[in-house]
């Protein structure tokens, strides 16, 4: 594969023109930290956006930031932290899980719709994404959305780019709305609950007025004793009050303890990045999204007769599973359980062979697959950009 490092829109347009004339394809990436996720590709060229960097707009009083797609996420987060702000959705870092190196970029974060624990309160990555610029598969520069958070001018192509894995266009610039960084944080922790109890507790907590910004369950196997964690963020006086009210509300689930800011912050970073599944590297890792109340039954069905490790985020709505083999053994069971729970699963870490089958992303219903094929064609008629990265033929 030849590496291309465009420095301007014209370079991208030229690369697309060349690929179309040769009927070849282009793998689009930032610094490649998520290259080991999704279906592997045999593209003739790799287009890396790492040279197109920089924050192009930051208005703290308007809670808005634009950055070129190759800008490292870390640079954006540091810039925001200096002004007491943050990306609302707490993007996870896949490097520990995938064993990859380099810096995750804003384009990569957008293309994979990375949302972390705060998703339950502040929405997903796509919810904060308010504008994009990209080059489509015909080499046209397209803008959609803008820098304002209320905008229904035409079809929302901007948000459609989130989670499209570079198959619709080469992102050149993204615009996000922001939130103030909370003054302080703490976690309330309950011990010794099973999955079912933990999901019930988390539902009661998130369904309370006390603004829980993280709800995760680390079962036995992650630690010696199961921990169910509720995160609170905000002004100090408010936190103490809400923690006390949660203690009273959730007393039927047992006694709770408080984890202070420092320990809580580090624990939630571990949860966000699923650190416990980084090793052993030969375990397959699945990311499963379900209605939270369906998580316990889903886990019971998958765990029957096999050894798995798991943890729950999003109050049970996000299930991480590590299975003993990198091969697809067990994948049919997982797909079936996920279908039954009306969720969807992404095979995050597996051998190239395993990811190369159509088992990486959740299979789509025929009518949705047909729309997806049409959508791809409307952006990229010659299948130049990341063909097959999500689904065969898309």
């Amino acid at each position: 594969m030849t590496a291309l490092t465009p420095t301007c829109d014209e370079d991208i347009i030229e690369a697309i023109r060349l690929a179309r004339s040769e009927r070849s394809s282009i793998a689009v990436e930032g610094q490649g930290t998520k290259r080991l996720m999704g279906r592997p590709m045999q593209a003739k060229r790799v287009l890396s956006m790492q040279a197109m960097t920089g924050i192009t707009l930051y208005e703290p009083a308007e809670l808005v930031l634009s950055a070129k797609s190759g800008t490292p996420v870390a640079e954006v987060e540091a810039t925001l932290a200096a002004r007491g702000q943050m990306l609302p959705f707490e993007p996870m870092d896949y490097r520990p899980l995938l064993g990859s190196s380099g810096e995750p970029t804003m384009g990569g974060l957008t293309a994979t719709n990375l949302s972390g624990p705060r998703r339950i309160m502040a929405g997903a990555c796509r919810d904060s994404l308010i504008g994009t610029r990209f080059v489509n598969g015909q080499g046209e520069v397209i803008k959609s959305g803008g820098r304002v958070m209320k905008n229904v001018t035409g079809l929302d192509l901007a948000r459609t780019m989130a989670g499209s894995w570079g198959t619709l266009g080469v992102l050149t610039e993204v615009t996000y709305k922001l939130l103030p960084r909370p003054e302080t944080t703490l976690s309330v922790v309950f011990h010794g609950l099973n999955d079912q109890q933990a999901v019930a507790l988390m539902a009661a907590a998130i369904g309370s007025p006390f603004e829980v910004s993280g709800a995760a369950h680390l079962p036995v196997g992650i630690d010696r004793i199961a921990m169910t964690l509720l995160r609170l963020e905000g002004f100090a006086e408010s936190l103490a009050y809400r923690a006390e009210r949660l203690r009273v509300l959730l007393a039927p689930f047992g006694r709770c303890d408080i984890i202070d800011q420092t320990a809580s912050t580090s624990l939630w970073a571990q949860i966000r990045d699923v650190r416990w599944f980084a090793e052993p590297r030969n375990e397959a890792v699945w990311r499963i999204s379900v209605p939270p109340s369906k998580a316990p039954a889903l886990l019971a069905q998958i765990a029957a007769g096999r050894r798995i490790r798991h943890l729950l985020d999003w109050g049970g709505g996000l299930v991480w599973i590590a299975t003993a083999s990198t091969e697809l053994a067990g994948s049919e069971v997982i797909r079936q359980a996920v279908r039954h729970a009306k969720g969807h699963a992404l095979l995050v870490r597996a051998s190239e062979g395993a990811r190369g089958t159509d088992g990486t992303f959740e299979p789509l219903a025929p009518a949705v697959l047909k729309l997806s094929t049409g959508l791809k064609k409307s952006f990229d008629p010659d299948h130049v950009l990341n063909p097959g990265r999500m689904y065969s033929g898309i």
């Binding site: 208005e59 703290p60 009083a61 308007e62 809670l63 808005v64 007491g84 339950i120 929405g123 796509r126 919810d127 489509n136 520069v141 397209i142 803008k143 803008g146 820098r147 304002v148 958070m149 209320k150 905008n151 229904v152 001018t153 035409g154 079809l155 929302d156 192509l157 459609t160 989130a162 989670g163 499209s164 619709l168 103030p180 539902a203 998130i206 369904g207 309370s208 007025p209 002004f235 006086e237 009050y241 999204s289 209605p291 939270p292 109340s293 999003w314 709505g317 996000l318 009306k342 969720g343 969807h344 959740e362 219903a365 009518a367 949705v368 729309l371 049409g374 959508l375 409307s378 952006f379």
Partner: protein, 477 residues
């Protein structure tokens, strides 16, 4: 009035009796409206200056009936305009002579409530407020709250990606919908998204929400419901100048405080709303902010103390807290009835541009110049936290010259919004109203990409075809 409609397809109009007979076979006896008198109720929406008599009005009661109607219309080349309650201010639900109106008002049931997962499944014709009312006994609610929430439907909200006063904290419709059941133009029923917090594959929900009935007919939705805060308290802040009010909003956000709502009203809007709602708005100020905070009493006290401190630094003239539920209701009644109250004193066009909030002082000044240039008056209500403007341009509908001027002033204001980095519409949609201004915000490549996406869903442009995209230069699949 200046907005054109496409020339009706005479072949379809000539086949009207035949089409009515075909549709009648697919619907219950009272599900098809064909008489002149009854059809007249559907000839316009809240953009009442424009009227088009539809070919017929279908009022299905099930998704299967919708699918059958769509299949019939697709086969027969009949255009379809979806309609909820007909409250669109942008003309999004106005039909045309060669199209049927597909009204979802009879599909208004709650199908399922799941408090553990904080989701609710509803039919598309349920009103926005009925969703919240249904779960209010358990202290839950559906967050987006457009001013028309008593009448407007969730299907219409999805079509226009509606917002409201409280989206600063809770987001707009697109942030609060998890899934839809939708009938495609050929009658195929698809499920998009579901009850999980994200969906597999492409984000079709992003496209569907705000698509103004051009991609399919949404018949059911899975919405996110949230637990109510322990308490909520609006506070009135009066300022001697709009600039001070604008600077105060920026300083509050800059201090890391996100109130659940921050609403701006100018002097004329204050007078109009106070005369109607008797909410106790101060009449001796040039600009009013309604700032609402949530939480326990102690939390609200603490947050308000911080906000009041900031407001004082920005020269606030009066501060008045709501002391009771009745006062709170009156304060919001005043703001939410701004459009209706204005309608009592004059006809008006309601604009809906969004601007970067830092541009507020400039935009207020320029809007004043624009309306004065046309010899008109404007009342401003404005979602200050998110930059969504609602200038109400007052005019006399019976004076064609003044009506033309009002439309031109509105267009100038929207172009101004785009010029300062904003957009043509924040929450009302493009409809016919802003259709011909789309080229001010988008170039041909941008519009071309949108139209190619539209054509993936509706190759023959049968769905609400007079809307959103300028009538010339359209791209089919």
């Amino acid at each position: 009035m200046g907005i054109a409609f496409p020339v009706p397809d005479q072949a379809i109009v000539a086949r009207r009796d035949d089409i009515i007979a075909g549709l009648a076979r697919l619907l219950p006896a009272d599900g098809l409206v064909t008489s002149d008198d009854e059809r007249r109720a559907f000839e316009t929406d809240a953009l009442t200056a424009y009227r088009k008599m539809p070919l017929a009005v279908a009022l299905p009661t099930t998704t299967e009936q919708v699918a059958a109607i769509m299949a019939y219309c697709h086969t027969n080349g009949v255009k379809v305009v979806a309609r909820g309650a007909g409250t669109s201010l942008a003309g999004g639900a106005i039909g045309q002579e060669d199209a049927i109106i597909l009204g979802l008002s009879k599909m208004s049931k709650v199908l399922d409530v799941n408090f553990a997962d904080r989701t609710m499944q509803v039919q598309a014709g349920i009103t926005n407020l009925a969703i919240s009312d249904h779960v209010m006994p358990e202290r839950f609610f559906y967050a987006p709250d457009p001013s028309s929430q008593l009448a407007c439907t969730i299907g219409g909200n999805i079509g226009m990606n509606s917002g409201g006063a409280h989206c600063l904290k809770y987001g707009v419709t697109t942030n609060n919908i998890l899934g839809v059941r939708m009938v495609l133009v050929d009658g195929t029923i698809v499920e998009i998204g579901g009850e999980a917090m994200d969906a597999a594959g492409y984000d079709f929900l992003a496209l569907i929400v705000g698509s103004e009935g051009q991609l399919g007919i949404v018949t059911e939705a899975t919405v996110r419901i949230l637990r109510l805060a322990e308490g909520a308290r609006p506070v009135l802040f009066g300022f001697a100048t709009s600039e001070e009010a604008g600077a105060c909003v920026a300083a509050i956000i800059g201090a890391g405080i996100i109130p659940v709502a921050m609403e701006f009203m100018d002097k004329l809007a204050i007078e109009i709303c106070e005369a109607y709602a008797k909410a106790g708005y101060p009449l001796d100020v040039e600009a009013l902010l309604i700032i609402e905070v949530e939480g326990s009493d102690a939390e609200m006290d603490a947050t308000l103390a911080r906000i009041v401190e900031i407001a004082k630094q920005h020269g606030v003239a009066t501060v008045r807290e709501s002391k009771s539920a009745m006062e709170t209701a009156a304060i919001w009644k005043g703001r939410k009835s701004a459009f209706g109250a204005t309608g009592r004193i004059a006809d008006y066009i309601c604009m809906d541009g969004t601007i970067p909030t830092g541009q507020l002082p400039l935009v207020l000044r320029r809007m004043d110049e624009i309306t004065k240039h046309y010899g008109l008056r404007v009342a401003n209500v404005f979602h200050a936290g998110d930059g969504n403007l609602h200038p109400l341009i007052l005019y006399n509908v019976n004076d064609p010259e003044e009506a033309r001027k009002a439309e031109e002033a509105g267009n100038d204001i929207l172009k101004l919004c785009v010029e300062v980095g904003g957009c043509l519409t924040g929450e009302h949609g493009v409809g016919i109203e802003k259709r011909d201004l789309m080229r001010f915000q988008f170039n041909e490549a941008d519009l071309g990409q949108q139209m190619r996406v539209r054509s993936v869903f509706d190759r023959k442009w049968l769905l609400n075809p007079a809307k959103v995209f300028p009538l010339d230069g359209r791209i089919a699949g």
